[in-house]
């Protein structure tokens, strides 16, 4: 390439394992290709457009002028110095996208909601509904409040009493049916932390939770929460060795797996690695769901059915994608009696808010989704803790 110039991109907000994330186009907006940051790229002199989708959901783009014989360094997104703040903003953006405040509130007229002065929460073991002491597990990070809603962000760490079980977070305001969401944490793995957002008005309350794992998990999560499925799948495919072969973070692996499933790219992951994800985390239904869907896409219906049955045995999938895929696979196509376990799963599938990443729905008891919903007794003796 005679008379070429050189460009080197850097994207500090994304880990190296995310792969070639910079989209490069010429001045006619024709695609040149996807470029790997921190590598020298030779380009003919001229005008180009470089862009990258950041995990906050924002798209950063720069027009660059390449000159013959010159090297240009282009930084996209926030720089290294701004990264600690960027990580906080990324988590906040993901939580806001997953559970917008105004989703919970009626904003106008006589029915306008008012922010709750006090709300309640408790943790329940997913296998048997036993309350767990929430105090050591939940730490308030930030509170925001306006007339209509109070939003509280918390950091959650796996409580010791989890004993390998998945955990329901149940939140309530007096007189209302509680909201329940599964926490994206797994004891005995590296997935020990998550961020929780609770939005509370006097007449409604909702909660969501997103994993707070390694950089890769956080990036994939944020892309999914902000609706950038293609970016999530791109990162998951590029980082598949780290995500799936080593299973350093099974929750990050599961989210990456769902992104790849959604884009029909799960065959880019070795079948054995998906089986490892399912086998190494027996308390985690989502691994089995992904294994079932991978088998189905390979045409192995027997394996798909076996993994689906295994997923059902393990319980409610942690993520809404997993619940949706499992319900679609297991729902009978003709009227017939179903087991209580499947009945419960299909009931949760009907109640769940699929706009959230984790499984979340309103019910007095998440283990009894078919029961008549009613406001619970918020006495501390039932495990409830008050927040104001």
């Amino acid at each position: 390439m005679t008379g070429a110039g050189t460009v080197r991109f850097s994207v500090p907000a994304l880990p190296e394992e995310a792969g070639p994330v910079v989209e490069l186009r010429d001045q006619n907006l024709k695609l040149i290709g996807q470029q790997q940051p921190d590598r020298d790229i030779a380009l003919d002199p001229g005008l180009y457009l470089a862009s990258v989708v950041l995990p906050t959901g924002e798209s950063e783009q720069q027009a660059i002028q390449v000159k013959a014989g010159k090297t240009l360094k282009v930084e996209l997104g926030p720089g290294e110095a701004a990264l600690p703040r960027e990580a906080t903003e990324m988590h906040a953006a993901a939580l806001t996208a997953d559970l917008p405040t105004d989703l919970v509130m009626k904003t106008g007229g006589a029915d306008a909601s008012t922010a709750a002065n006090e709300w309640f929460c408790r943790l329940l073991r997913a296998s048997d509904g036993t309350p767990i002491d929430a105090a050591p597990a939940l730490e308030v990070i930030e509170r925001t409040r306006d007339q209509s809603a109070a939003a509280t962000d918390l950091l959650c760490i796996v409580p010791p009493e989890a004993h390998g079980d998945m955990i329901w977070l149940q939140v309530a305001v007096p007189g209302q049916v509680p909201n329940n969401c599964l926490l994206p944490i797994l004891s005995a793995t590296n997935a020990q932390k998550c961020r929780v957002r609770v939005v509370a008005a006097t007449d409604a309350i909702r909660a969501t939770a997103l994993p707070a794992g390694n950089e890769l998990t956080n990036s994939v999560t944020a892309y999914l929460a902000t609706g950038h499925l293609r970016a999530a799948a791109h990162v998951a495919a590029n980082a598949r060795d780290l995500l799936f072969e080593k299973v350093e973070d099974p929750i990050g692996a599961a989210l990456g797996g769902y992104a790849l499933l959604r884009l029909g790219r799960i065959d880019e992951v070795v079948e054995e690695w998906i089986a490892n994800l399912a086998n190494w985390t027996p308390a985690f239904p989502d691994g089995a769901v992904i294994a079932s869907e991978q088998a189905a896409r390979k045409g192995d219906t027997d394996a798909a059915d076996r993994w689906a049955a295994e997923a059902l045995k393990r319980g409610t999938p942690m993520f809404a994608d997993g619940l949706s895929l499992l319900a679609a696979r297991l729902r009978p196509t003709k009227p017939k009696r179903v087991t209580k376990r499947l009945q419960r799963l299909l009931a949760i599938a009907k109640l769940t808010d699929y706009a959230q990443i984790v499984v979340a729905f309103g019910a007095t008891d998440p283990l009894q989704p078919l029961a008549e919903p009613k406001a619970p007794d918020l006495d501390p003796k039932h495990g409830w803790k008050s927040y104001s």
Partner: protein, 385 residues
């Protein structure tokens, strides 16, 4: 057998085949043509709708007038509408009854069941029982609640349609738009299995390349609409197809992909619902493949704001906007009062700001290149100090 509303001759090449259904008027619900066959508590407390049929009509018109796929031109559109008295749709469109829709599902399927390069589109609007985001909904047809059939059987069984289309030889690009006013799930909580509505009997076992499912109301939320004007979902959908969800293809053209619809459709519906002081949360499911659904004939128009920094320079600044070919799109325009707002096609531009009078020496003329893209570009701020 009802004939398709549109049937184009497309030769041996791939085609698009659409089934579009909109039900506002329900014969057996209160205020329907026939007194309710069952009490309100057994018909889930449902009422007549005011906008589902006009929503379906709006989408059908978009298919007829604007749909521009990359490879599979519009072949057939099967259209069934049951409008309310407040809706204006053409006369002569067959009603969305079970007797009409059930055979139409089968003949629609036959158009593309051995043609993997074809495109299949299903749009259904009406009362619905939402299932998961990978199943869609059971959409209730006009004669739902009829005494001569089971409660749910006069319905469109979207889940069995999706399963029935899961085969290698069937059209591999499938798009499902489910615009359903959702029945409260506690009223149908005992309904675990599907109930033999209009659908496809034989489930396939090979998921297609693309089976994108866009639903207007997740379980336990309601689909909203302006009476006679169409639902918020259909309004947002057409806006997205017309450019809000546009993205660049490899050649620099503007297209709508299955993946590019996800964020803008969700955001637009949420915003429209907020304008109505309500909430509506759409979902997207199924398998997406970054497939191009529609090619825009030209770059989508965007509303853009232009400002200068520092703000005190504004009275002295004049902006000119040239496109990537050097053609002036916005002639020298004052930036005072701020912001300067213009509607321009999406694309790459050079923004030049001149300072006048020249004696405003503390500020300097400046130029920058900016890329303006959907859905809503950030305000363009250019420094002049």
């Amino acid at each position: 057998m009802v004939k398709p509303w549109i049937k184009h001759a497309t030769g041996d090449g791939p085609s698009t085949h659409a089934l579009v259904i909109g039900v506002s008027a329900y014969e057996h619900l209160p205020d329907g043509a026939t007194p309710p066959a069952v009490p309100a508590e057994e018909s889930f407390g449902l009422r007549q709708l005011q906008s589902a049929a006009s929503s379906a009509w709006s989408f059908a018109q978009w298919l007829r007038d604007d749909y521009n796929p990359p490879k599979a031109p519009l072949g057939t559109v099967r259209l069934f509408l049951s409008p309310s008295g407040k809706e204006h749709v053409p006369a002569g469109i067959p009603a969305a009854t079970f007797a009409n829709v059930e055979p139409a599902v089968r003949t629609w399927f036959k158009e593309f069941k051995d043609r993997p390069d074809d495109v299949a589109i299903l749009y259904a609007a009406g009362h619905g029982i939402m299932l998961s985001k990978d199943e869609g909904a059971i959409v209730l047809l006009e004669d739902f609640g009829s005494p001569d059939r089971g409660m749910i059987q006069n319905s469109l069984d979207v889940p069995t349609v999706i399963k029935g289309l899961a085969a290698k030889k069937v059209a591999q690009s499938q798009f499902f738009f489910i615009d359903a006013c959702s029945v409260k799930p506690e009223l149908v909580k005992d309904m675990e299995s599907l109930q033999k509505g209009a659908g496809l009997d034989v489930p396939g076992h090979n998921p297609p390349s693309v089976a994108a499912i866009y639903a207007s109301a997740a379980p336990d939320t309601l689909a909203l609409g302006a009476p006679g004007k169409g639902t918020l979902f259909s309004q947002a959908l057409v806006e997205c197809l017309d450019g809000l969800a546009a993205t660049l293809d490899d050649g620099g053209g503007w297209v709508i992909r299955d993946t590019s619809m996800v964020g803008p459709l969700k955001d637009r519906i949420t915003n429209l619902a907020a304008e109505h002081d309500a909430e509506q949360v759409p979902t997207s499911g199924g398998t997406l493949g970054s497939t191009v659904l529609h090619v825009l004939p030209k770059p989508p128009p965007l509303e853009v704001e232009f400002r200068v920094a520092p703000g005190e320079a504004t009275p002295f600044c004049f902006a000119t906007l040239d496109d990537e070919q050097g053609k002036t799109v916005v002639k020298r325009s004052p930036l005072d009062p701020p912001p300067l707002q213009k509607t321009v096609p999406a694309g790459l531009y050079t923004l030049a700001v001149a300072i006048d009078p020249a004696e405003a020496k503390r500020f300097k003329a400046s130029q920058q290149i900016c890329f303006l893209r959907p859905p809503k570009p950030q305000p363009v701020v250019i420094k002049v100090s």
